[in-house]
């Protein structure tokens, strides 16, 4: 029996589940439902693509959801206060970029471990937002800016815009990682930062760039999520969304120790979660029950992986969690 990678195991699990649902649930296979399924996890997928780059570069961004919520809310508040839409959107982007570069600076130059730097910055950004940007958890999109609802609720050629944006961002990042020099540098840094540095790679600027990128992805995902429901629920910072993002990344087989994996892994993980959620909603399983089933499936994936691919001195990497 050939050795299966974690990605393949998760993919097989997905195939089995998808086939079961298709067989057992009427209407599951319809075009409309498949679209609904993917749209339901499009934002999660986009966030996971952004997180993937950071994780491949041997980092982690725990501030992503906070940046997402606050930068989007900031942009909405500006619109409500009469700023032109383009300027409000641009300033939101600038805010996200600044936060990303501060995080990157803390990690690359001050050399604070990513785990702590992003955890602290996430709390800071959210606190700053609550204090200075918005007084309420729900920040509504003003009716004057209804035109940008297209991002989260529009359709092009029979496909919802969020799905197109998910596919677009996945493609762009995949091409970047596989074919650009910078993308290869990210792998090199993630695999072994010390040797990457000795070989002359600009490791520190590269790290800053990764966090700027993940912050910008957070902002974009926030816009898509919020324009879809005409409000930004900043309380999402306290939800399990961040863990779901990390879950999708790790589940698909991207190692937290860096240097491994790609966009394909993220897509496999996203599909599994999306199918699971969609099927369970159709079956009208309660939220609490859904969480139990979700965790059991994830445990199965991890257990199968550790049985088929036992860790030993050769496969284990320094920094494995």
């Amino acid at each position: 029996m050939p050795k299966l990678s974690q990605e393949q195991i998760v993919f097989l699990l997905w195939v089995v589940m998808f086939a079961t649902f298709a067989f057992a649930l009427p209407g599951f296979l319809s075009y409309g439902n498949i679209i609904t399924l993917i749209r339901g996890v499009a934002v999660l997928g986009i966030l996971a693509v952004g997180m993937a780059i950071v994780v491949i570069g041997r980092g982690i961004d725990l501030s992503m959801i906070a940046v997402m919520a606050v930068s989007t809310a900031f942009s909405f508040v500006l619109m409500t206060n009469g700023y032109p839409i383009w300027l409000a959107l641009l300033l939101g982007l600038v805010f996200a970029a600044i936060v990303g570069s501060i995080i990157g600076f803390l990690i690359a130059y001050v050399e604070i471990p990513a785990l702590f730097a992003t955890l602290a910055m996430g709390a800071f950004v959210y606190g700053f937002g609550r204090y200075a940007v918005f007084g309420q958890d729900l920040v509504y999109l003003p009716p004057s800016a209804a035109s940008i609802q297209f991002l989260g609720a529009g359709w092009v050629l029979g496909v919802p815009v969020p799905i197109l944006l998910f596919v677009g961002s996945a493609l762009a990042v995949a091409l970047f990682l596989l074919y650009s020099r910078l993308g290869q540098f990210v792998y090199a840094t993630g695999d072994n930062p010390a040797s990457a540095r000795i070989s002359g790679l600009p490791v520190r600027p590269l790290i800053v760039l990764q966090y700027v990128f993940s912050s910008l992805v957070g902002y974009a995902a926030g816009l898509i999520m919020a324009t879809g429901v005409t409000l930004m629920n900043t309380r999402i910072v306290n939800s399990t969304l961040l863990y779901d993002v990390i879950l999708v990344v790790v589940l698909g087989g991207i190692s937290l120790s860096g240097g491994k994996g790609g966009v394909r892994n993220v897509i496999v993980g996203t599909l599994l979660i999306g199918t699971l959620l969609n099927g369970m909603t159709i079956m009208d399983i309660q939220y609490t029950g859904q969480n139990v089933i979700k965790s059991v499936i994830l445990l199965i994936a991890i257990v199968v992986d550790s049985i088929l691919n036992p860790r030993d001195e050769q496969t284990a990497q320094q920094g494995d969690i």
Binding site: D137, A153, R235
Partner: protein, 339 residues
């Protein structure tokens, strides 16, 4: 003789008028006033909401702060920001500080029950606002969620029930399953639907008070049930997501969306633009005033803690596009809204 009498009468009238006008100029001291004002001197009231960052808590807070300011008692807010643990900690801390009264907003019916009992033992009045705890303290001010569920269900029955020619398929989107707003409301809904076998609940899910989750659930349900007739959501802030899903499916007006909430302007806007078909408002600003009345009553009457149990259900108003008036919803005074 006669003229003397007239003069005398006139003089008398004069005196009486003079006396009366004199009295009017001096005014009368309301004998109850000193005692009333005295009742609040040096008192301390605390407020522990689930979080400060949403419309209901801000409305209550603006009313509570206003009265405290007017009557000169001290008022503190402890904001646990959606964390039940932080809320329990804040309550424990407050019980040690011994304020005269605590206004509590319970995240679910169990978590604070024991602490409310402790507060009672420590001689502190507790007034519960809008979400009931399993433990009944001195007062509950807020929605009658059993009744609210009934009202919502009846609205749906009217639209989707017998004789409507519709499918009778209904979806329910709850908040957090263990919350006071959910457990009592679902009972009211189910009780009404039990009498109407033509209504079929095709989905009953919790969306954790989050609009995006509510949207994803509703999209799946609409996909599975193209002939869905009605949706009941449990809070307008979350139900914008339900409305967005219905709008995106091009079914605005075909699917009857019933929501409920404190009646902030954002909710009325959503009724006006068709996101919600009906909004059951429990008027959070009015609840704030009810809270103030309850605080005054308890501080004036000074009952022994635990000896009174007052229930004050808020009046409900059903708002639809037709019944909406410019003053149906409230906006916060700008001073509180900005912070």
């Amino acid at each position: 003789m006669k003229s003397k009498l007239i003069i005398g009468t006139l003089a008398g009238l004069c005196c009486i008028t003079a006396a009366l006008t004199g009295a009017r100029a001096d005014g009368l001291v309301d004998p109850s006033r000193a005692g009333y004002l005295e009742a609040f001197k040096g008192k301390k009231v605390a407020f522990v909401p689930i979080a400060m960052g949403f419309d209901l808590a801000q409305a209550w807070n603006s009313q509570l702060a206003k009265q405290a300011d007017e009557l000169g008692y001290s008022y503190v807010v402890r904001d646990p920001n959606w964390s039940t643990e932080a809320g329990a900690q804040a309550l424990t801390q407050l019980i040690a500080e011994k304020p005269d009264l605590i206004v509590v907003h319970s995240p679910d019916i169990q978590s604070y029950a024991r602490l409310l009992k402790q507060a009672e033992a420590a001689g502190i009045y507790t007034v519960q606002i809008n979400m009931k705890s399993a433990y009944v303290s001195e007062a509950y001010v807020g929605s009658d969620y059993n009744g609210l569920g009934e009202t919502a269900a009846n609205l749906i029955v009217k639209q989707c029930g017998e004789g409507s020619g519709k499918s009778g398929k209904v979806s329910i989107v709850q908040g957090v399953l263990t919350g006071g707003a959910s457990v009592y409301q679902i009972e009211g809904i189910e009780r009404v639907f039990a009498k109407h076998p033509e209504i079929k609940i095709v989905s009953n899910q919790a969306a954790d008070w989050d609009a995006s989750k509510a949207k994803a659930i509703t999209q799946t349900v609409l996909q599975q049930n193209a002939d869905l007739c009605g949706i009941i959501g449990f809070w307008d802030g979350m139900d914008s997501g339900i409305g967005a899903a219905v709008r995106e499916a091009g079914k605005t007006g075909q699917v009857y969306v019933v929501t409920s909430g404190g009646g902030a302007t954002s909710a009325c806007d959503n009724v006006n633009n068709g996101t919600f078909s009906a909004l059951i408002s429990y008027n959070a600003m009015g609840q704030g005033r009810d809270l103030n009345t309850m605080i005054k009553a308890l501080l004036e009457m000074k009952p022994k803690p635990g000896t009174v149990k007052i229930i004050d259900y808020s009046p409900l108003t059903v708002l639809t596009k037709d019944s909406l008036k410019p003053d149906s919803c409230w906006a916060l005074p700008t001073a509180t809204a900005s912070k």
